[in-house]
């Protein structure tokens, strides 16, 4: 076991070491040195996780480091939990992480603060690993907050632009709102179970009756945390703004790993969710709604990264829909495949942006497929994958989700299929406008260096064959990933789909057909002739509404930000400056005034003194008379 413990510690420790090296050496290290070290660290930790993965014996191992918080009956250890789920997430995080680190070397090499960038990127990997490896909610929470902080730092990496800083703060604060739920959930669970270790909580929780209000509350609060991290309705407006960060950041944090933390959390505590059907419905519908929302808004965005951002939102919606139906296996599967193709899309987009010298507006692109071949090809593969064209990875994961949704609730299924069509539309719109037609920009496009294209290729391969991980029975596979994850601490995701093979075939046929149809429509719109959207101002109402993201940002600004600012200002200008301080100062002034008035009694006239004394005597005398 010593070996396992050591490796388990190494996995997060290596990126942390990277943080220290690149951080302290940020002045001395050259761009490539810093990038190299950072990448190496993550790569090493990937290897460590791989060894752990290969040596995994299906058991759940707790790596207990030390007792972190110990008060009264509360003893929260700093411990890692090594089981199928955490291992799988570790692989995804470090694996994708390595590629993106590698890519960043090329993407960021001429940025003056590149070493800092890598330090923060490593810090993120460290936090993310804590998140997935934690053996109890609180250790997970360390990572949970850590990734939030890193995302804040990286979104605002180019800190001289106020908009970016705002985006960073927005992301962090929205996550914090989610964390309120998470903290309360933890408090509740500790109050209920007297422990926060996943194993014990699940073990004790599993004994409770289904629909127990405590469980429902806890799961709902946890889900609130998840919506914050994973940009589900209503806490999703931060994710598109988060695109302010450098593209690798968008790829790693806001597509592949961090945003899936919410999914991970729900899967982690799936036992509880299984016992709270009420919550599950909520999860399902939030997921569905978000999927639709993201897909619709994606339609008319002109910023290449924004489009991808909204597609991420929508894909996350799919994942939660899966979780809502209790199909955790496919949820995680989609997390994985999505990590592949979405990371790829972002990196490719980054490569395009890099090629065009920072241009992000697709209306100023076009015809790049000749120039940036690798990028084009990989982007194409990713697009097909996300649209769920068989036999690419996206097809399998998405189809699994659709199937289980159909089983759970046909309406949800219909919505999701519609969303899938929209996805196909805007993705191909993006593809066509970017790579086909004629170049509409002014820069001089050029293909990116190898260090950037290699990760693209690797990811392209993964997105292509990723489906093999979890081929469903119907294709004669045996859902390897589901089986593997099922071996995790708490038999996750084991819902034998009660659909006849025929139904499944039909579902697949339908969705694929519709998607292909949509693609053809997109082709006719954007490839045959190039139609560009103008400004939202001159659009029909609904379209404008969608292009303006259903006015969600405006709504929040109007509902929360402005009133909050107003309250803050007036609490001070009225509550403090008009009431509290004047009250104290006023009391003093009043007393002084009283003194000023009272001293006038001392007139200085002896006869008045005599008179006053006599009055005093008489009054007191009368009192004496009556009290005697």
């Amino acid at each position: 076991m010593v070996k396992l413990d050591l490796l388990a510690i190494l996995v997060p420790a290596l990126p942390l070491l990277g943080v220290f090296i690149t951080g302290f050496g940020r002045r001395k290290l050259s761009a490539y040195a810093a990038g190299g070290i950072a990448t190496a660290m993550v790569a090493l930790s990937f290897i460590a996780s791989l060894i752990l993965f290969l040596g995994h014996d299906g058991q759940t191992h707790i790596v207990h480091l030390f007792s972190w918080i110990h008060v009264g009956a509360m003893d929260i250890p700093f411990a890692f939990q090594i089981d199928a789920l955490s291992l799988w997430m570790m692989l995804v995080v470090t694996g994708i992480g390595t590629l993106i680190h590698l890519y960043s070397i090329g993407y960021m090499h001429d940025d003056p603060r590149v070493a800092t960038f890598f330090a923060q990127l490593n810090l993120f990997s460290f936090s993310m690993l804590l998140l997935v490896m934690g053996a109890n909610f609180l250790v997970t929470f360390i990572g949970w907050e850590g990734v939030g902080m890193c995302s804040y730092l990286l979104i605002g990496f180019w800190y001289t632009t106020p908009a970016f800083n705002y985006a960073g703060r927005k992301a962090f604060v929205m996550n914090r709102i989610g964390d309120v739920g998470m903290l309360l959930a933890m408090a509740l669970m500790f109050y209920q179970f007297g422990t926060l270790n996943y194993v014990d909580v699940m073990q004790q929780g599993g004994l409770m009756a289904s629909g127990n209000p405590l469980i429902v509350t806890a799961t709902l609060l946890l889900f609130l945390g998840a919506t914050g991290k994973s940009a589900q309705l209503p806490l999703l407006t931060w994710l598109p703004d988060a695109m302010a960060g450098p593209t690798p950041v968008s790829a790693l944090i806001h597509a592949a790993t961090m945003v899936t933390a919410g999914v991970f959390l729900v899967v982690r505590s799936s036992v509880l969710y299984e016992l709270a059907p009420y919550t599950q419905d909520i999860v399902l519908w939030v997921g569905v709604a978000t999927a639709l929302f993201g897909a619709t808004v994606g339609l008319f965005q002109n910023d290449i990264k924004k489009v991808l951002a909204y597609s991420t939102v929508s894909q996350l919606g799919y994942m939660f829909a899966a979780l809502g139906t209790g199909d955790y296996g496919n949820g995680m599967f989609h997390v994985t495949t999505h990590a592949f193709f979405k990371a790829l899309l972002f990196l490719a987009a980054g490569s395009v942006i890099h090629a065009l010298g920072g241009e992000q507006d697709i209306r100023k692109m076009g015809g790049l497929k000749g120039v940036t071949k690798t990028t084009y090809v990989t982007f194409l593969i990713a697009t097909l994958a996300i649209c769920g064209i068989p036999p690419l990875s996206g097809f399998f994961s998405k189809d699994g989700i659709l199937a289980s949704t159909f089983a759970a609730n046909p309406v949800a299924y219909a919505v999701l299929v519609f969303a899938a069509m929209l996805t196909a539309f805007y993705m191909f719109r993006l593809l066509f406008l970017t790579f086909f037609g004629t170049y509409r920009g002014t820069a001089h496009p050029h293909e990116s260096p190898k260090v950037m294209t290699v990760p693209l290729v690797v990811l392209a391969i993964l997105s292509a064959i990723g489906g093999l991980l979890n081929i469903p029975h119907i294709f004669g596979g045996h859902s390897w990933l589901n089986t593997f994850l099922a071996s995790a601490a708490d038999g996750i995701g084991m819902h034998p789909l009660e659909l006849s093979a025929g139904t499944e075939w039909t579902l697949m046929a339908i969705s694929t057909a519709l998607v292909l149809l949509t693609i053809w429509y997109a082709w006719s719109l954007f490839c045959k002739k190039t139609t560009l959207d103008g400004e939202p101002a001159d659009m029909p109402f609904l379209k404008r509404l969608i292009a303006k993201r259903w006015m969600l940002d405006e709504l929040y600004a109007w509902l929360f930000e402005k009133p909050f600012g107003w309250i803050s200002k007036h609490f001070f200008s009225i509550g403090e400056e008009k009431i509290a301080v004047p009250l104290t100062a006023g009391t003093g002034k009043a007393t002084l005034g009283f003194g000023e008035w009272l001293r006038k009694v001392q007139t200085g006239n002896s006869s008045f003194y005599l008179f006053a004394m006599m009055v005093g005597v008489v009054v007191l005398l009368i009192l004496t008379y009556f009290s005697a």
Binding site: W68, Y159, L184, S568, F571
Partner: protein, 481 residues
């Protein structure tokens, strides 16, 4: 003997400064003396066995139960650690941000430290009160001579306001002392033993609580705090917020919980309500503050609100969390006010308008600041997180909704701290002529950062101090008739 040394070392050092007036090496002497007392504190910590220690017990004026009893329990020791650890830094602030005549300033600070040690060591209510008031005098002169604008009016207001509380406390002490069996004694041990009738506890609670509520301050009694913090010289503000405010929390534990437990229990919902409201109120105000220092002042008030609320939840997590947090908050406040001082020293004003985009010019400073911000918004693995986590648990066990109100603070905290950070550091470079953090500032901030990172990683070193006493406190309460 060590306990007496704690009081004497700073006091004598202060006298030495006043008499010898070594203008050049005043800070050096002060620093050495604080380090010396720090060493003593660590010695006490090292030899701490978990049982309360009575260092000195000596009759003073038996007739009125005044006895000179010095000692410490786990909580007292924590307070000593707080004072001992922070004062070297508070003195050290003078190196980079000098104010006034070094001899006088440091002498006053040392006197204040001596009195503070006295407060946390006193085991006799009367003795406690004497030190409690003596802490005020040095601060009073510090503010009076080296405060900012309106210093004279504000200082007097602050002085009287706090004395009002003090006198109320004195009244309560006199009252409870007379309730003790003859021969009267104001020893905490004796006072804790007498079970006052409920109707007495009902009002006695407030006459005692007033003093501590004003010291911290808690919501309706806070109006002196922001203006005083803003006006005071950095070192004075540090002492006020980082250490003196803690006298309030400590006093609540040793006075209210020990002497009027039922009263405290009875009023707890009111106090928690006020504190939490004040905490949210201050946090909201902090967001739109245009004055950096005042904004930090409000953040401090917000933290105090949460701490006081958690203290009154009457469970191990709330109380331990608060006690733990006193230390965390102290370290945090020293860091923040040092940063405020350093920045405003460079830009020449506390006003956010005079800042912004400084990161380009002072990246290293920005990094240090970022660490402190992390602590301020209670990121896990910083010192503040375990405390807040425990306090939230305490609140939850008391009532779910108070817990919700408390947890909202992490959102608000993030809102105002990050906004402040942005307004100071981020944004386009405005070509304000500033220099980056130099070695002195690093030698000041880095140790503090190390402290709060390490304690955040191993909070048990602090928690194990308070765990026993808190359990004992709760048991003694549950065992009440």
């Amino acid at each position: 003997m060590e306990v007496l040394a704690l009081i004497l070392i700073p006091f004598l050092a202060g006298l030495l400064l006043l008499i010898a007036r070594p203008a050049a090496m005043a800070r050096g002497i002060a620093l050495v003396s604080t380090l010396l007392s720090l060493a003593v504190v660590f010695w006490l910590w090292y030899t701490w066995t978990g049982v309360a220690v009575t260092g000195i017990s000596h009759d003073w004026v038996p007739a009125w139960g005044m006895r000179f009893v010095l000692g410490y329990g786990g909580i007292g020791l924590l307070m000593l650690i707080l004072t001992g650890v922070l004062f070297p830094f508070i003195i050290g602030t003078g190196y980079k941000q000098p104010v006034g005549d070094p001899v006088l300033v440091n002498a006053l600070l040392l006197f204040c430290q001596s009195a503070l040690f006295g407060v946390f060591l006193a085991q006799n209510a009367f003795l406690f009160y004497i030190f409690f008031e003596l802490t005020l005098l040095p601060i009073f002169f510090l503010l009076l001579k080296w405060g900012g604008e309106h210093k004279r009016a504000i200082t007097v207001r602050f002085f009287l306001y706090t004395l009002l509380g003090g006198l109320a406390l004195l009244f309560s002490i006199a009252y409870v002392t007379l309730q003790t069996p003859l021969p009267h004694s104001a020893d905490f041990s004796v006072l804790a033993a007498l079970h006052l009738p409920m109707h007495v506890q009902m009002w006695l609670f407030w006459t005692m609580f007033l003093a501590f509520a004003i010291k911290m301050p808690i919501f309706p009694f806070h109006s002196w705090q922001p203006e005083t913090y803003t006006m005071a010289p950095t070192q004075g503000t540090m002492v006020l917020s980082a250490v003196m405010g803690k006298m309030g929390l400590y006093g609540i534990v040793v006075f209210l919980f020990a002497i009027v437990p039922e009263g405290a229990q009875y009023w707890s919902s009111w106090v928690i309500g006020l504190s939490l409201f004040g905490a949210l109120y201050a946090a909201v105000i902090a967001f739109r503050q245009n004055d950096f220092k005042r904004m930090v002042a409000y953040s401090s008030m917000s933290h105090f609100g949460l701490m006081c609320a958690a203290l009154f939840t009457w469970n191990a997590y709330g109380i331990s969390g608060t006690m733990y947090q006193t230390f965390a908050h102290g370290v945090l406040m020293v860091c923040l006010f040092y940063i405020v001082g350093a920045v405003s020293q460079r830009t020449g004003s506390n006003d956010f308008a005079s800042m912004g985009g400084l990161k380009t010019k002072m990246p290293r400073f920005a990094l240090l600041f970022m660490f402190v911000v992390g602590n301020a918004i209670a990121l896990p693995l910083t010192q503040s997180f375990p405390g807040e986590w425990l306090m939230y648990n305490g609140l939850w066990q008391w009532n779910n909704w108070t817990a919700f109100a408390g947890v909202l603070l992490i959102v608000l905290g993030a809102i105002y701290m990050l906004y402040a950070y942005q307004r100071v550091m981020l944004g386009p470079d405005r070509n304000i002529a500033v220099t980056d953090a130099d070695d002195e500032e690093h030698t000041f901030l880095v140790p503090l950062i190390l402290i709060f990172m390490l304690v955040g990683l191993f909070p048990n070193v602090i928690l194990h101090l308070v765990d026993g006493p808190v359990q004992h406190l709760l048991n003694s309460f549950t065992s009440l008739p």
